[in-house]
Amino acid sequence: MRILDNISLYFSLLKISLKEILIYRIDCIVGIISQLVVQLVSLIFIFVVFENTENIAGWNFQQILLLFGVTRIPIGIAGYCFDALYDIGPKYIRNGDFDKILLRPVHPLLSIIGDSRQFVSIADFFIGLAITIYMLIQLSIPITALLIIKIIFFSIIGALIVGAINTIFSISSFWTYRSNEVIWSFYRMYTFTEYPITIYNKFIRILITIILPFAFVSYYPTMAYLGLNNYIVYLSPIIAIILWIIAVKLWDLALNKYRSTGN
């Protein structure tokens, strides 16, 4: 029951953040355009690479683009839904607004995550969606109801994995105001999963499948959509749950430590 209450509260907060986007229309448009430019640069890079080679680790141009598109969907969702984690150090704790969060009768993580409103990520999401659909057609993969359900499901799970990893690194907020940079530097490792992980050495492969399992955000789901490996992707919900349990436990521990030292 408590979980249901929390989810309903989370969606109320999300609704509010959508309303606020409408209030800042111009900011929103400018943000989305700049995000489009950033994505365009990444795309150009892929084009350039394929002018020099036929495939990357056995993946052709369309497959790589599909992987790129599939990556952007959960990254877009996570960017929107978990953005406020970046603000814990530089905004909430620094301004003293963190106390206000601690006085609410809900878990502070829920309050903070509910305050997220990174609307530029909407651009990420739609670019990803468009490229994914276009490449599925190009690769003549039939877009069945089952495939759509899979894409929705694994995109949400992927976003949750990114969110959990961000939550773990947001713990640095209790020691430094510049925690946003700590989170950002680990979060950016998702870019590894924009290419087939077989191109990396053992260390990076272990890093992104086991330690910070970004490979489950888009690489393994794309393998499944392409019919290259159908089973390993089903580990991702379990990984998401485990990661969130670890994240919340560690976060609570750090919070207790923080409350005993004073601020």
């Binding site: 109320s12 601690l102 609410r104 878990h107 409350r259």
Partner: protein, 328 residues
């Protein structure tokens, strides 16, 4: 049983010792040295349901630290705290359901939204029953005159309007205990009175326990019936407000209108605060002398036309205490 129980509460902070200069900075970086600082040095008090308590003291006396411990934002170094039967630092979220808090200028409302939407989010967060919410909203709108404000965005409100909404938001879920830390800072006199009236009315209606921290002692004068006075982390007075004034307000201030002053007035038993050609302001202890004796003395220098006397206000008494004139 008391609603708030504080026993032998101690809070010690670790402060990094800052060394001077660039070399000092590097030394800090490599091997920081810490110094301990006792913000609260073993305090005890208990508060009954429905009490209106003024928690006062100078800056750095330990008021905010106490409030932060009572709300579970900080954990005590030693000693125990129980609020409504809950240990706040262990069951913070459970404790949050019973309490409300206003911390100075920090708003709990959502900046970009109309006030009413913040209220309905708070309703959802605290799971306030619909009829309870409607009833409170109607009542609060009436006392705090929120009518026109509810549809406005928080960022467009003036300081006074924002604080009125803030106070309403704090009481919306019928908290058993409310902590108000400087709720009237920077507000004009009408808003201050409005807020004080609200606190008193709600206290009467719902038996809400209120702990008020403020530097505006008229807040305390008007709202509270009990004072806890804190100095350097220790309680130096805890009890009835009127008794406090009776036992420590030993001074009387008198203003005299005089004429035909022959020379500068010098008095033995009274302190002269101001003296002009036709006006004199003095201060004396009513347990050492009487106004009759002093007037007798003054009449040697001039003729007295009129006299106006007033007792010391809370503010004057506290100033004396801080200066060390009184021993509590």
């Amino acid at each position: 049983m008391a609603i708030i129980e504080v026993k032998d509460l101690v809070k010690t902070y670790k402060i990094m010792e800052k060394k001077e200069g660039l070399i000092g900075y590097f030394k800090n970086l490599i091997k920081p040295k810490y110094r301990e600082f006792d913000a609260i040095k073993g305090i005890n008090f208990s508060i009954e349901e429905g009490e209106l308590v003024g928690y006062i003291g100078e800056n750095g006396a330990g008021k905010s630290t106490t409030i932060k411990i009572l709300t579970g934002l900080l954990t005590p170094t030693s000693g125990s705290v129980s609020v409504n039967g809950i240990i706040p630092n262990k069951n913070r979220i459970e404790n949050n359901k019973n309490i409300g808090a206003v911390f100075g200028q920090k708003t709990q409302l959502w900046w970009d939204l109309p006030v009413i939407e913040s209220f309905s989010l708070i309703k959802k967060m605290y799971k306030i029953p619909e009829n309870e919410y409607r009833k409170n909203l109607k009542r609060f709108t009436e006392i705090l005159d929120l009518g026109e404000l509810l549809e406005k965005q928080v960022k467009n409100l003036s300081l006074g309007q924002k604080m009125r909404c803030e106070i309403a938001a704090t009481f919306l879920h019928n908290p058993k205990i409310v902590y108000l830390d400087e709720p009237t800072i920077g507000l004009d006199v009408f808003v201050k009175e409005n807020i004080r009236k609200f606190i008193k009315d709600i206290n009467k209606e719902k038996k809400t326990t209120v702990i008020l921290t403020t530097h505006d002692l008229r807040d305390i004068e008007d709202v509270c019936n009990r004072i806890i006075l804190l100095d350097k982390g220790q309680i130096i007075y805890d009890g009835d407000k009127q008794k406090f004034k009776d036992s420590y307000g030993k001074y009387v201030i008198a203003e005299l209108i005089i004429k035909d002053k022959k020379k500068d007035i010098v008095l033995n038993d009274a302190e002269i605060l101001e003296q002009f050609e036709n006006k004199l302001k003095i201060k004396f202890r009513h347990d050492e002398t009487t106004i009759v004796k002093i007037m007798d003395e003054i009449s040697k220098f001039c003729n007295i036309e009129d006299i106006h006397m007033k007792e010391e206000e809370l503010e004057d008494i506290l100033k004396e205490i801080y200066k060390g004139a009184h021993k509590c």
